[in-house]
Symmetry: C2
Subunit: 291 residues, 2 copies
């Protein structure tokens, strides 16, 4: 299948990687890139990764058979509201957001019959942002989770599946609430923790802070990489996946308090047992070759 | 300078990497490897990374000009107590522990005049353990922090400095209490957090747990790597650097509570500001080429 015309809204890391891949692999005959930011549009023109580039979102979708919104979760609803009235009947609307339930709720309220909405989440990324950070193999070998609502057309889900498979991804269908809980654990909480710990270090007295930077060992250095991800994207994730994140954060807090108590009481047996248990998960992850 | 005879006690990741490097670079004429575990000794013989291998710690130090203890922090004192009576007058005793103050206190109580004790901490490692995991370039380009006590001979500090420089490390002298605070932030707290978050995931209901493993995204995957480090080593770190870890953990907890409150209240402005602040530290770390 080749899509006739695809429009990608939002030319950040994800959108620009998608555009590159679609162009390279010929997954669509025509790629239209849209971004409200003119500087970003200029950059995309310069990079030559789309057939047309525009900062007029409404115009960008008029001839599209498929529209992918790759914008921060917090503006996904607004972008959908703006472009849906201009989309062709029968066109597919999809997205790349890391949070699905709240966003789908929002978009559904603007949707109309004739538009097939298929939420998608490619689990891929780096700590870098902007169109110049994208690359066409970003999705290669990574999961892409679709969370279609019950009433959507099977054909539309198939089309979105084929797009992501064409990008090298492995596609899975998941219940939308379940997605937000699983990702809350594997991605959202780790980012929150990393931002917090690097923030704690950032507020240390200047002399200690400079030494923390100088001697940053593997643990802390990994956290700073995670904590240099795009602030807008992550703010929106936490505002839109509040429930799942707060639930898992509470469990984490209980476990951390138990660790703290064991350290205070000098309970080496507890610490040794807890530290040993976590190796099994690591092994399982290595075994399924996600590392 | 070539050391005549060096004894390394403990043939784990650090000890075996050190033995490999010393042999390769000819930093000592003779390398004696000691480990109380006979299986480990057999492995070291097989690997051929030392001139002599023994499980008799006392015998291993008798002809040594320098003795390096590369054992978990929790048994450092006991090992020192056992070997010091057998060491030659004028010999240097050093270690590779990640915690310095509590251990030095312990060792000092067993020391005698004629033995020069120079605590050292090579900031290097991987998540793997055992003699087969070591490699000779482990210390290349990494810091090694010496925390000599006030009354030690300058010559002994120079000798230990040259050893680590010979291993490719950059050596710095630091106050011993200060070392434990800085490392508490850059290494000990991140490991505790990683162990905790992977432990939290480990206790999830089975169906969610298997999906967490399957879809483990970059954040969580990094944490599982950190949390697969040696449990004995890390138990001992927390038991021996209690004060610094608990202090920094309290600051972290306060910051995490503030993040939690912001998510609950939907305070996007706060989250955005905090997420933006941490990029500066990342940049500073990249600028000094530790990444």
């Amino acid at each position: 299948m080749t899509i006739e015309t695809i429009t990608i809204i939002g030319m950040g890391l994800i959108g620009s990687s998608l555009a590159r891949r679609i162009k390279e692999s010929g997954l669509a005959s025509k790629v239209i890139a849209a971004d409200y930011d003119r500087d970003v549009c200029d950059k995309v023109v310069e990079l030559g990764i789309a057939d047309e580039v525009t900062d007029k979102l409404e115009l960008s979708v008029e001839e599209a058979n498929m529209v992918i919104m790759a914008v921060p979760v917090g503006v996904m609803g607004k972008v959908a509201q703006r472009v849906i009235p201009y989309m062709k009947d029968g066109a597919i609307l999809s997205d790349t957001g890391s949070v699905k339930a709240a966003v789908a709720e929002d978009i559904k309220s603007f949707c109309r019959s004739g538009i097939h909405f298929v939420p998608a989440h490619p689990i891929a990324g780096t700590e870098f942002s902007g169109p110049e950070s994208g690359f066409s193999t970003l999705f290669e070998g990574r999961w892409c989770i679709l969370t279609p609502l019950p009433d959507v057309s099977v054909k539309a889900v198939e089309d979105v599946t084929r797009l992501w498979e064409g990008c090298g991804s492995m596609v899975e269908i998941m219940d939308i609430k379940h997605h937000d809980l699983v990702l809350g654990i594997t991605s959202h909480l780790p980012h929150l923790i990393a931002y917090t710990i690097v923030g704690t270090a950032n507020e240390l007295e200047e002399d200690i802070k400079s030494e923390v930077i100088k001697y940053s060992a593997s643990g802390f250095r990994d956290f700073t990489r995670i904590a240099s991800s795009d602030p807008t994207m992550w703010r929106d994730v936490f505002l839109n996946n509040k429930e799942a994140v707060l639930e898992i954060l509470q469990r984490f807090n209980e476990d951390l308090t138990a660790m703290q108590r064991a350290i205070r009481k000098g309970d080496g047996e507890y610490l040794y047992r807890r530290f040993g248990e976590t190796r099994a998960i690591r092994k399982a992850i290595i075994d399924i070759r996600q590392e």
